[in-house]
């Protein structure tokens, strides 16, 4: 297997995640799309690490995973609050501000 195959796959997954962020109207799905994007970056990092035969990328991925976990915690807390406030998590309805 050439490493570039993994890079293409990472690109595809990243694009799916980006499209998901743009089209999804459920905030939770939107967060999951961001997670997918982050993980596609992880895949690219690991593929590059493999191609270069250095493990530094693995440390990068490990820390990206941790940061993603922290981000999700804050994001989901925010979803709970907004649901308490509005009884909705539809992104189109959460727009008092003009966006």
């Amino acid at each position: 297997m050439p490493v570039s195959a993994f890079l293409v796959l990472a690109g595809v997954l990243f694009a799916i995640g980006a499209v998901g962020v743009l089209i999804s109207r459920n905030i939770i799905v939107l967060f999951m799309c961001v997670e997918l994007m982050l993980n596609s970056a992880n895949l690219a990092l690991i593929a590059f690490s493999r191609a270069l035969h250095v493990v530094d990328g693995h440390a990068f991925v490990f820390l990206v995973l941790t940061v993603a976990a922290a981000e999700v915690a804050v994001g989901l807390a925010m979803v709970i609050t907004i649901f308490r406030n509005r009884e909705t998590i539809n992104i189109d309805r959460i727009s008092i501000l003009k966006w």
Binding site: L7, F14, G17, A18, V21, I27, L30, F31, V34, M37, L38, S40, A41, N42, A44, L45, A47, F48, A51, L52, V54, D56, G57, A59, F60, L63, V64, V67, A70, E71, V74, G75, M78, V79, T81, I82, N85, R86, I94, S95, I96, L97, K98, W99
Partner: protein
């Protein structure tokens, strides 16, 4: 197995470590005193920031953790800006903690300090991973702070929007960073620079992936800076978030993003200076973004009726001016950028402090409500006028010098070979500066030339007064006597090692 740590010097990290511990102290203090302390939590925070500033002054330069944490003049200069912004934001939020944030004062100030810690770590980072984590550490507390009024729909909504944009942009940025890592095989900026030059000489076709990485990174950092086309969140978040948080956001997080930009682009990707593959490939892209920011920020701000939204669009435009210095890609340009943020901090934090005091008193952020304020609160109106004029860049205030240095740096670089496109950026900056006068003057007009007297008399609490006075002093003193700051700002690029074209 032999364990080898890089050279560790906790002494170099002392300001960050102290501020981190202090943030925990503030949170614990609030909890231990059963949240009954009114203003003492805020004063405790301000004292902590002041002590950190003192520690920073005696820390000096040197490596803290190998090359990953390095106190260079740029780091120290930016840390001063971060601490100043945090100090002024905390000072202007006393009214807020008295009225609205009753139960979580400690967390409010603590998160502000933790965000500042993230910015300070970022300023010292010399490595992609640390830069990214520093940016995250800066923004995650800010998401929470923006949504801090839990029962206010606007605030929660602005926090959520900021979160979505922030998370998306950090994902885009990691993807860009992964490309850079793949190209160079290292995360260290210095090593990256060397490797890029080698890679470029060895392979002809590597440019495409580098351009993709550059685009991703400009998008990622552009989101944080609020540069078009990634600016939509800025006015919304400024309007919905608590006003001192919006102020902190406009300086702290912007300066943090700019520090990251300077480190990754001006330093890390500067290997192409003088190499055939167009030295300014990222410069041109960033230049287009800067022009878009200038035009959009300055024109849309005219239509705004809410002063916080207006300041939001104005901050987009100011980011555009700062980017002019950045795309000059010279030592002079970087010094100009540092001076610009420094001057911008005083004017913007001052203006926001006045807006906060006005909002605490009247509950309104409409520009209309400022009508006739000069008659009931003359001193406050004069202060506000000076801040707005400095933002617009009127001599002899600091904002004028800042704009002048940025333009001068770009023009100097434009006169060199291959830099002619910079004239376009400078031209856009000069023309839109005229527009910007209009909307700043609009607020002044409301305050001074309205027939009716304002129904409000707005006073300042002691800490807010201190903030306004610091802002005034900064704007006036550094407008007339900028030499000490300029000398310091001149040292900012000293670690960057520019290759003259």
């Amino acid at each position: 197995m032999e364990v080898q740590l890089p050279e560790v010097s906790l002494r170099m990290m002392a300001p960050e470590l102290f501020l981190f511990v202090w943030a925990l102290v503030v949170i614990t203090f609030d909890v231990v005193t059963k949240r009954a302390q009114g203003e003492s939590v805020g004063y405790l925070t301000m004292v902590g920031i002041a002590i950190t500033g003192g520690i920073l002054a005696i820390t000096g330069e040197g490596p803290g953790f190998g090359n990953m944490f390095y106190n260079d003049p740029m780091a120290i200069f930016f840390k001063i800006i971060f601490l100043g912004a945090a100090f002024m934001a905390v000072g202007s939020s006393f009214g807020l903690t008295k009225q609205k944030i009753v139960n979580h004062r400690g967390e409010f100030f603590g998160l502000m300090l933790l965000s500042t810690v993230g910015m300070m770590f970022l300023a010292s980072a010399n490595e992609l991973l640390t830069i990214w984590i520093g940016l995250e550490l800066t923004t995650i507390p800010l998401f929470v702070l923006a949504a801090f009024f839990k029962d206010n729909k606007l605030s929660v909504e602005s926090g959520l929007k900021y979160f979505i944009v922030g998370a998306f942009s950090s994902a885009v940025m990691v993807y860009g960073l992964s490309f850079l890592y793949g190209l160079t095989g290292t995360t260290d900026l210095l090593q990256m620079k060397l490797n890029l030059a080698t890679v470029h000489l060895t392979f002809r076709n590597i440019g495409v992936i580098l351009i993709a990485a550059i685009t991703m990174l400009i998008a990622g950092i552009g989101f944080k800076l609020g540069l078009p086309p990634f600016h939509q969140w800025v006015p919304d978040v400024y309007e919905g978030a608590p006003t001192p948080v919006a102020a902190f956001l406009s300086i702290g997080s912007k300066a943090a993003g700019l520090a990251a930009f300077a480190k990754i682009f001006v330093n890390g990707l500067s290997a192409f200076h003088g190499v055939e593959m167009a030295p300014n490939d990222w410069g041109k892209l960033a230049g287009i973004v800067a022009i878009a920011a200038l035009i959009l920020g300055n024109t849309v701000a005219i239509r705004q009726t809410n002063i916080k939204r207006m300041l939001g669009y104005s901050s987009i435009a100011q980011a555009g001016y700062i980017m002019i210095g950045m795309v000059a890609q010279s030592a002079l340009g970087l010094s100009a950028v540092a001076f610009y943020i420094f001057a911008y901090m005083f004017a913007n934090m001052g203006a926001f402090a006045v807006v906060t005091a006005f909002e605490d008193k009247t509950g309104s952020c409409e520009i209309k409500s400022y009508a006739g304020l000069a008659k009931t609160s003359p001193m406050l109106s004069i202060c506000m006028t000076i801040f707005l004029l400095s933002l617009a860049g009127i001599p002899p205030l600091a904002g004028f010098l800042a704009k002048y240095f940025v333009f001068a740096a770009a023009i100097k670089q434009a006169s060199l070979e291959g830099g002619q496109w910079l004239y376009w950026v400078v031209g856009a900056g000069l023309i839109t500066a005229v527009f910007s006068l209009y909307y700043y003057a609009n607020v002044i007009k409301q305050m001074y030339f309205s027939k009716d007297d304002s129904p409000y008399r707005v006073g300042l609490q002691a800490p807010a007064m201190l903030v306004v006075l610091i802002g005034l002093a900064g704007v006036l003193v550094f407008g007339l006597y900028p030499e000490p700051v300029l000398r310091f700002a001149g040292e900012v690029p000293s670690m960057f090692g520019f290759v003259s074209p």
